[in-house]
């Protein structure tokens, strides 16, 4: 009995020793770490893993500048489980690691908002690939940036296009009851009202599979357009069912629709659906095609939404670190990195050209309205742009207005 235990003990000790011995010795270069936070488990993990993968790919492909300066870049992915507690606990652990100089995340605004409080208190720069909630940047933190659009610009864009380009007179608005979906729907609704569109309904639903009951009143009211603020996994299913039930009008949504999987979920019913997005289809951005190819090679699947945004966010952070390091002539402070990231100007990314304003929003973003052309997911990148608008961020618009006083 006792001997057996001793043997096991000795055996495991030997194994541990061998394991540590075989590891590569101390690195010569200094380590810089980039963290990501997104849900890697749970129902939203598809999008969260896309973010994580995008960051990984970005680090793999864009560390050369830092390597030349004598740094090794490591990637530490965190799982925020789409819950605030976990996100904040991770954030505290992230800021406690002095080697971490930047963070790409999150997916959910509900996690990003409390977690970014921690980042900001500790001067860690965050670039969000996916949080469209206005509040993220409206707090004016020097460390918090995003490269995606804002709901309060995207929603109205959709309404304008619906009224002016699509000739719609009545709308039925749905949302998924999340901060993202409802926010988008609210902004769409407000703009639609000012444009004089008739609102036939405004509903929230968390239903994910069976929309029969939700479709009935839509059929009875027969609106020209159904706007759905939500993510493709829900809206694609909805659209497929609504068509089957006999709805003949138009569908429109936000950047949550922007996934090749939408085509798969919605099928033929999805063809002719409009969505607004700040990231146009790959045809607009030549680099994107290469990204899709690389991503496929690395992870064996097409990039899901936010993968490209995560890639861009990370490259911006890497560039910021490199700039700050060059200036400092060594390991930069977090403040310096944050300042360098904020100073990003005309960065040509996969999803657009980015210059941050003083709040961390892109100064201007191009909002596209895109029409789905095919039920084949492979054709997703060929979706056609029906309209586009260059919109300044609220702060930038304000500054411009002040700079050029209307005479």
């Amino acid at each position: 009995m006792k001997t057996a235990r001793l043997v096991t003990l000795a055996g495991s000790a030997a194994l541990a020793l061998a394991l540590s011995a075989s590891l590569v010795g101390a690195q010569d270069s200094q380590v810089i770490k980039i963290a990501s936070q997104s849900p890697l488990s749970g129902p939203q993990s598809v999008l969260g893993i896309a973010i994580r993968n995008g960051v990984e790919l970005a680090i793999e492909q864009n560390s050369q500048a830092l390597n030349d300066l004598g740094f090794t870049v490591e990637f530490v992915p965190y799982d925020d489980q789409a819950t605030a507690e976990v996100g904040v606990a991770n954030a505290q652990q992230i800021v406690a690691d002095p080697a971490i100089l930047g963070l790409t995340g999150h997916l959910n605004s509900g996690v990003a908002i409390p977690s970014s409080e921690v980042y900001n208190e500790n001067n860690l720069v965050m670039v969000s690939p996916a949080n469209t909630n206005p509040l993220i940047t409206d707090r004016g933190y020097p460390t918090v940036n995003r490269i995606c659009g804002r709901d309060d610009l995207q929603g109205p864009t959709g309404a304008v296009i619906a009224a002016n380009d699509l000739g719609v007179t009545s709308v039925y608005i749905l949302h998924d009851t999340t901060a993202y979906g409802q926010g988008l729907a609210d902004y769409f609704r407000a703009e639609a009202a000012t444009l004089g569109l008739t609102e036939l309904g405004f509903e929230g639903t968390a239903e994910a599979a069976n929309f029969d009951g939700i479709i009935q009143p839509i059929l009875a009211l027969n609106p020209d357009l159904v706007f759905f603020g939500g993510i493709y996994s829900q809206t694609g299913v909805f659209i497929s069912q609504a068509r089957a039930a006999g709805y003949t009008g138009l569908f429109m949504g936000g950047d949550g629709f922007d996934s090749s999987e939408f085509a798969e979920l919605a099928g033929d019913a999805g063809v002719g659906t409009y969505y607004t997005t700040v990231a146009g289809p790959a045809s607009v951005y030549p680099n994107a095609a290469q990204f899709i190819e690389d991503y496929n090679e690395a992870f064996g699947e097409d990039p899901q939404p936010f993968a490209a945004q995560a890639y861009d966010s990370t490259v911006i952070i890497l560039n910021g670190i490199a700039a700050a390091a060059t200036e400092a002539g060594g390991l930069p402070t977090r403040e310096a990195v944050a300042a360098a990231v904020r100073a990003t100007e005309n960065y040509e990314g996969l999803t657009g050209t980015i210059t941050f304003d003083d709040n961390g929003d892109p100064e201007t973003a191009v909002y596209f309205a895109v029409e789905v052309v095919s039920a084949d997911p492979a054709e997703w990148s060929n979706n056609t742009i029906v309209a586009s608008a260059v919109l300044p961020s609220p702060l930038f618009a304000l500054q411009q207005a002040e700079a050029t006083p209307s005479s």
Partner: protein
């Protein structure tokens, strides 16, 4: 049972009818007992729920004729009525079939099998894999659609039934007789495990999370069937019709099994008193496994049919239908098979009607549907704690 214990002085016309020679002979007739009577019961429940809810809806329309400018509620209800009833019935049958699993297990083991909603999900996932395999093999359009659906539903049910038995053997059997809290917690744990295992399996095999059934490849399922109700045309999806037909057939089988076979009687005996049933020579363990097999299979049938109807599923779809089906089981009187049917139909219809009418009330909206549904449940439980058809069990003192 009630009929014979009733005091003769209080016997009414209905009881006299139940006691008449005609009825006795009729009730011994196989077709009547196992086909006409249960089908009649289902029709009655559907008609009842539809009638009650329609009346309520029009009642609300009288109270609030124009809840929003330019919307005449009564007109809208008239337009939506056939659609609401059809969608309510189809989802109601799904709830009823899931609720049966809860109620059967509760009947024999007196515990809430929380993991049952995951068996429902597994049934849907199994159907997806079945159709996908056929699709990649190019066989999907070669097989007759009716045969295809029958095989799919049966295979999914068999699979979930086996999983149900397995779960019972591994996780619940060691706990038999423990206080109720213990197996309930275990069931919650099992539920997490099943969800995540499914997620891993789907991630490893097809590298995806949302599973879209290749039903669009089957022409017979793709086109909706138009029905004319007066001036309104309602497009009914073929899958909705399949759900109702299949559910009715399955429920007839279940009714026959529970009331007409030795095993069914054994299960009923166990649900009355497991110890005595065991002493009477019933193999209690076997019968409990059989209960899980059947309960699980019905969860799987429901999941399979549901997946056909909704088209896209994921490992997390079990929760809400499971919760509503459980509500249905409680509403009907948990442990009571007919109650589960009634509860399922009632919850499905209520939901459909609420979705169809709340939308016209700007202050409320469909997002309050679940609140109202639960409100109905709580109200019923307060006035009838044993559920609609449940028997009041006075504790022996």
């Amino acid at each position: 049972m009630t009929a014979e214990t009733l005091d003769s002085r209080r016997r009414g016309i209905f009881e006299s009818f139940l006691d008449s020679k005609f009825y006795r002979r009729l009730s011994r007739n196989f077709i009547y007992r196992y086909v006409i009577y249960p089908v009649g019961q289902m029709l009655l429940f559907v008609a009842l729920a539809a009638a009650v809810l329609t009346l309520v809806a029009y009642g609300i329309a009288i109270l609030f004729p124009e809840p929003r400018p330019n919307i005449v509620l009564a007109d809208q209800i008239s337009k939506q009525l056939p659609g609401m009833i059809i969608s309510g019935v189809s989802i109601g049958f799904v709830y009823a079939m899931i609720a049966l699993g809860y109620t059967l297990v509760y009947g024999v083991l007196k515990f809430i099998n929380f993991a049952h909603s995951e068996l429902f999900m597994l049934g849907a996932v199994a159907s997806f894999f079945f159709l996908s395999v056929l699709n990649t093999a190019g066989l999907l359009t070669d097989v007759h659609p009716v045969l295809l659906i029958i095989v799919m539903v049966l295979l999914s049910g068999a699979f979930t039934g086996l999983i149900g038995v397995l779960v019972e053997r591994i996780a619940y059997k060691p706990l038999r007789g423990a206080p109720r809290l213990v197996p309930l917690i275990t069931a919650i744990g099992v539920s997490f495990v099943l969800i995540d295992l499914t997620r891993i399996f789907a991630a490893v095999t097809i590298n995806d999370f949302n599973l879209t059934l290749p039903t669009r490849e089957i022409p017979a399922l793709a086109a909706p069937v138009p029905f004319q109700f007066g001036s309104t045309t309602v497009n009914v999806r073929v899958s909705s019709i399949i759900i109702v037909v299949a559910a009715v057939i399955m429920l007839l089988f279940l009714n026959y099994f529970v009331n007409g076979t030795r095993s069914g009687r054994a299960i009923r005996a166990i649900s009355q008193d497991a110890t005595t049933a065991g002493l009477m020579g019933i193999n209690v363990n076997l019968m409990i496994s059989l209960t899980f097999l059947i309960g699980g299979a019905f969860g799987g049938f429901a999941g399979s049919l549901y997946s056909l109807n909704v088209g896209t599923i994921n490992p997390y779809i079990g929760f809400f239908p499971g919760l509503k089906a459980f509500t249905a089981a409680v509403l009907g009187g948990i442990g009571n098979v007919t109650g589960a049917l009634l509860g399922g139909l009632f919850i499905g219809m209520t939901e459909s009607f609420l979705n169809g009418t709340l939308v016209y009330f700007p202050a409320l909206g469909q997002r309050y549907t679940d609140v109202f549904t639960f409100g109905v449940l709580i109200a019923v439980l307060i006035f009838r704690p044993q559920g609609l058809l449940g028997e009041r069990v006075d504790e022996k003192v």
